[in-house]
Assembly symmetry: C2
Homo-oligomer: 161 residues x 2
DNA sequence: CCTATTATGGACCTGTGATGTCCATAATAT
DNA sequence: ATATTATGGACATCACAGGTCCATAATAGG
């Protein structure tokens, strides 16, 4: 039950791409140097982000990556779902035996909750919890984190006044 | 980013142990039959639950398992943490390079937020999300799910009227 | 047109952890 | 004494995270 390192890399990479003083197109070299991860591996992650429309990429000299949409339109949930996938965190392994035996113990002939969709009550709780998580991740964006970093006095050195 | 099957088994096993019509000590045979999982494997899970004080076990003839505390004192969070562990879901892989390079780009000499603890802002968001998840899991107990099952008309067959 | 640069995708490798199985041992009731 | 039941160790298997390497394509600059 751990988020992968790829999620960590992806979030930090996007955060870097969102920095105000961006010259267009940040190369993989700069990104991988920043995050202390190999170019090859980070490439895979960036490709995934591109396939899902979070960044744009241009090959060739002076190429690189840039955000495909405004940073405030990229939520943490977007990133997590691209990297970790969109399947739910919990699935009852055998809904037929589980919930049905729990709700209607010994085959009394009634259909077990036919209209409501025979959802496992355990799964229902776990899905509810996941929704709480998603809601929070949806409310936090690349931009909101960047704002907090700026507010804390970061990036002032980057201005080279 | 998936909960393990063990968590599924553990939750359903506890739910079964919490059923009102319990004769003391439910054996591994009955539990494994119910959940359609091998006795050997479920044993490991039950042992873990015992080591963490969620159930009691007695060996020997007529032995088996029973809840170690009232079902309303066993939250989903308790179970998840026993099975999945208690480490946080997200950890910034290199806090020294990450947040520090983001907040104080080019070594300007200031200590980067010394009092506040150099916490990664990305990690902070992810931890916040996890807390939302935990809060929800803390509010749902074995008993609360059992109540909902009863309310839905389950278990009436078990009374053998 | 030629070359250097940069992203892409496929193939491959490795360690770790989830999911089980099997067996010897200990404890308990009859 | 014997049958029953939980426990713990040793293994086996398999998928996946995490990562490397290389051939290919696209692009800019001369």
């Amino acid at each position: 039950m751990q988020y992968s390192k790829s999620t960590d890399y992806a979030l930090h990479a996007l955060l870097h791409l969102a920095r105000p003083e961006l010259r267009n197109n940040v190369g993989i070299k700069e990104l991988s140097g920043m995050l202390e991860v190999s170019e090859s591996y980070l490439s895979k992650i960036m490709s995934k982000l591109r396939q899902d429309g979070l960044v744009r990429a241009v090959p060739g000299a002076n190429g690189g990556y840039e955000l495909a949409r405004p940073a405030e339109d990229i939520s943490f949930l977007d990133v997590v779902q691209v990297i970790e996938g969109r399947q739910q965190m919990f699935e009852c392994s055998n809904s037929r035996s589980r919930q049905h035996r729990l709700l209607a113990e010994e085959e009394d002939g009634r259909e077990p909750a036919p209209s409501r969709g025979s959802e496992c009550l355990v799964e229902k709780v776990m899905n509810g919890a996941e929704q709480q998580l998603h809601q929070y991740l949806r409310e936090h964006t690349i931009q909101s984190v960047l704002d907090e970093a700026l507010q804390r006095g970061g990036f002032q050195a980057a201005k080279k006044r």
